[in-house]
Symmetry: D2
């Protein structure tokens, strides 16, 4: 499968086309909208998030609630486009308009954003031409794409959930996850303002977010995605670019502001001995092969082991601050204190939703590529066979 996205932050719409989905997969706007709403939630979002409610329109590839096998196109309209048509319109400027009169031009790049280098790369002097696309607004349609992927995973008995494990050094108690399924975790975090499993930590996170906001500063954190119900053997060790963990790492790092990724106990492996890291292999008649632990996060040799995938990503604090940073005007070359374009003080909860959806896509894609996936029924049957086969191996 593959997908492309298009759309500027203040353009008329965000668009995505997904190619390669199996036919006969149930897909509805309602389910996608639910995920879009979760992306807009979480404590710490600015005003814009509260006034906009993103909803998707399915304009191709789905008929009467099921995929056709043909490409699926999704559109999320920008409600405030009417205020931006002159500023962002595709049409040529009328000849009697002086380009310098266009409103909201930007010549002052913000540190931590794509502004400066993007302007250099594409030859823009109005840095709006960069930030309209580099904005995390684009992740709206990536969530929509992931929501379709989740619909597929759901049909295949695979569950996925994300949660926030750390904000500005405040860590959730991971022991609270023990024994909980993905669905149980989701039920808990859905009602938490920080999408966090640990109410105590969450309360501290809320305070920290509010304080950061008051101080005109921003804070980052760590999100974790858990994928359950996978058969063993997705991905492959035979060639370096077919390893599933490499693909998941790439997906995580492709999210705006993400700067690191780790699987299982992750960087802790640098502090432990082999006998404390690897997961012993067990077998019994009923379940087949299992693992005593899951410190490797469900992946060995670039392949799923059948244990849950556990992957975390770190998000840097949002680079747009009220407390300004030093930068340089590209026209005057004068130093200035960087301006504010938007005002979230912490986007980690929202980003956890993005992470869930980009990981969902990669997992779904790996499955569709590996199996016969013209139609959902064929795919389902094969996953079942694979589970049975690996159990009996």
């Amino acid at each position: 499968m593959r997908y492309l996205t298009a759309g500027e932050s203040h353009g008329p719409q965000l668009t995505t086309i997904i190619e390669g989905l199996p036919s006969l997969l149930p897909v509805t706007a309602e389910k996608i909208n639910y995920d879009l709403k979760r992306r807009q939630g979480g404590h710490g979002r600015g005003r814009r998030m509260q006034i906009e409610t993103d909803t998707v329109e399915i304009v191709s590839g789905v008929r009467h609630g099921q995929t056709l096998g043909s490409p699926v196109a999704l559109v999320v309209t920008n409600d405030d486009w009417k205020h931006w048509t002159k500023i962002m319109g595709a049409a040529e400027l009328p000849e009697d308009i002086d380009p310098s009169e266009i409103k909201r031009q930007i010549s002052r790049p913000r540190p931590g954003h794509a502004d400066l280098v993007g302007g250099m790369k594409y030859g823009h002097r109005d840095l709006r031409n960069v930030l309209e696309r580099s904005s995390a607004r684009e992740t709206t349609v990536r969530v929509a794409v992931g929501s379709v992927a989740k619909a597929l995973l759901n049909e295949l008995g695979i569950s996925i959930v994300s949660h926030v494990t750390e904000i500005v050094g405040i860590k959730a108690d991971s022991s609270l996850l023990e024994g909980k399924t993905a669905d149980e975790i989701r039920a808990i975090i859905e009602n938490d303002p920080c999408y966090c499993i640990d109410p105590e930590a969450s309360a501290k996170m809320v305070t920290a977010i509010d304080e950061a906001k008051k101080a005109g500063d921003s804070i980052g954190g760590v999100v974790e995605v858990i994928v359950e119900g996978l058969p063993a053997g997705i991905g492959s060790y035979v060639h370096y670019d077919r390893k599933l963990d490499a693909k998941l790492a790439s997906a995580m790092l492709s999210i705006n502001a993400f700067k690191g990724v780790e699987f299982g106990i992750g960087f802790e492996m640098a502090r432990k001995k082999g006998s404390e890291v690897h997961d012993e292999i067990l077998w019994d008649e009923e379940k087949g092969y299992t693992r005593a632990t899951n410190r490797l996060g469900g992946l060995e040799g670039g392949m799923t082991t059948g244990m849950p995938i556990v992957v975390r990503g770190v998000m840097k604090p949002i680079p747009t601050l009220y407390k300004p940073l030093q930068s340089v005007d590209i026209e005057t070359k004068e130093p200035f204190k960087a301006s504010v374009e938007r005002s979230d003080s912490c986007a980690v909860p929202a980003a956890s939703i993005v992470a869930e959806h980009v990981i969902a896509w990669e997992i779904a894609n790996a499955i569709v590529e590996q199996f016969h996936s013209d139609q959902l029924p064929q795919l389902k049957a094969q996953l079942d066979e694979m589970r049975q086969y690996t159990k009996e191996y």
Copy 2:
């Protein structure tokens, strides 16, 4: 550019084909062999590493020391192939041989390796069929590929170096890197048994490695790759799969036993405020745009900023231990204590070399894709133009 690798650990040879290199690039076996040798070094390697000296043969695509523009094929012959021809040969078994008589068959999967899942996936009962390919032996040709990529980077004024920053919790003092160029770092670590910048930490690492070996255990660590001299604007923010950091993350995770990656100050960003994370933008007549710090590791919006790229990867302890782990024989279903196939107690220094080379490849590839790269002279001229253009922007 693209490349494929082939070869089993005890097969006749490792092979790689690199397609898409510019013509007129100086490439010699000597330089590649030097990098292969570094991969075989470092404290903690087992006996096999000491007896084998990998050398490469260039069998296509290079003439009189320069690339032709046609695909480059590299071969690394396995010296002990003569002892394995019967066990690993490609020819059909003679009819009078009972397959069960083949020596060195394996029915006991090692935890932490691809053995079990690989056997399931590809339908093998002799798990040698898996481990011969999933072995880190394959990284030999990945280093060879990266060595060619480094020859290209070198021509373009780009330096790359890797070093070990942590082994089993012993951390090098990162302040020792300050003010040092990649070349200066290389000069120091080249003679260190752990490829570590900090002699005190290195001494402790050596001790830890020796102790792990004595205890029949293994230990992991963290490696860091630094890339200097890049122009701004390599990579792009316009589509999620064109972000350079996503590609580097994928490369790092594609190395055997790597379980995490981070850029700049990495996971520390989850513990800091925005005002402590982002790199302020400076400008002066002579240098153009620079940054006051490099906490983001040389990448913003998926693009190089012109500052050095700093990327780290975490390697788990090698899963093959003298101190055995619980596993299950796939034929008898009897539990057993997992056997030892090889005996390195710590491969982190060697893995740092692999990391350097897979990162070198991704950087070189990003440059070749972005610029006109039929011939080296064209490419060189364009990089120079890009540097001048971004300075004057």
Copy 3:
């Protein structure tokens, strides 16, 4: 570059996303609409073509008439969608509706269409689920994509034109092309009902089309695309999948109903001697290297030679006939005479426009991949350098 298309024939819209275009390229809806209109013209189109006038909306990636470097999304709305919302809507059917009551269901596959095999492949019993996507309606957005590609080629001094060389055995006199530039050819054929350079042949073609229509039959033909102004050296011989002619062949065969492709004198080469086929190489101070003839159609070794590319494709007669063909109802398994879904008797002129645009895309893509193409000015400068360099070689 890459693009995806989505959209069913009677769905709300056709959509395409183009990723990888250089920034600063002038793109306007007007120019694209002009090409869409040409696609809808030509003698022999049915009623639907006359009532619909396709127009494009640029919803992303273009601001004030220029590309931003970010993905370009184009939408062509279907005017009669309002009559099809119940039949083709994405929403789930209300529970009280019996799926068998949906109008315009199809259980009778038409020979020559994707109906039967598409239904098998994707598990559809209502073959409308296939034909809505397999319809040539999709070529509307492929023309839109090609129109953007042509805008790029135009900036680079490259012209492209298509014309009809044969319909049901009536051949245009190719000597009329001699000495004419692409622009001159376009000026002539634009006003011809069959997009044919030869008025006499065109008149016969018109008659043949009318007769076919009267007889309830359909007819095919041959179209030719000519690309002028290319520098030498686009494409490469070094790997089989980098040959430009292989890519052009693939593009031509990807057009609905196309069944063959040939370059230069094409299949005639099977009837001639080498001394009559190859193009002798000339040189003079002013022009550099030229060819005495262009029998190979501008490509040698998978690369442009600097001579015009000449490529032809053959289109089968449209498979939907008033004069029905034998087929089988997939539900009853009863034989029947295949039904009519639409009524063009000849779509060759329209298809010539599609051919022009898919070839334009491949050429533009090959150039963008080969050169540094972040921005149009850089790309332009490099093409000029390439032309100068090859002249002085």
Copy 4:
């Protein structure tokens, strides 16, 4: 699946790596060598073909006669490499050697070859650097790759055969094919000097080849590939770049000297009415859906119909002639009569073997991508299911 090839015509070896093959596929050097030998046969080959006997060595990915799932590397050694080590060696020239003293340098590009443009593109003054790679010698390993693909097709009940249908205007009587299976056709043409089904036409072809040779000229022709036993539904109509015919066309045009391709009755469709072109759909209890004819060559909507694929390619006469063509020395800019590098007067029979193998690869690849293909037994079972399913549809 994917593969890369490397190797210069007079270099030490040709190499290919095939990635993505299912495991447990029987592969032997003997079968590949048989196909390599067929490529070297056929009337009209020059002296070089007679002295060399290409044989393959399987150096990775196959153990005891079966694929492992890991990449397969194949090597074909050049026997006369020992005479070319100084001229073509990879090592840098010793400092005391003047590059102009290297033997067999070429400054005179041959019309119809990649020489001139290849030299421009990659900046070579010694055109040997081009022709060593652009030579059809490379097709040796493409045949080896296709031979492995054929081993896979064979396991899946799919047969493929190629034959020569025309040389310099002499056409084989196609009615001789009627009622014959691929295996029967192969049995006939294998012993024909022109790989032609029609002994009378073949005799004339032999004479024509001999006359061309005597006259110092060269001649081309048309080859046809037939693929039998395919299930319906391979390929897809849902996106333009997933159409199987587009991929086959690309493969055919990627063969050296091929300039056109057509399916079924091909360009004849431009001369016929729809009612004479399309294949009526039949159904009976026992066979399921069949077609009354196969004028479309087994493909509708970019998918296999279950009827045999019939695809033809046209090969231009070999551009290297004793009867020389006008060209220009790139150093002196003096006109000259183009020199002879090799001496085949007709390579059409050999090229038919190449065509068979590149088509085999594309078909095998399309199947492997579409189905679950980790292991051969899984793939086999699915093809059987697909055949049963489409029959019962």
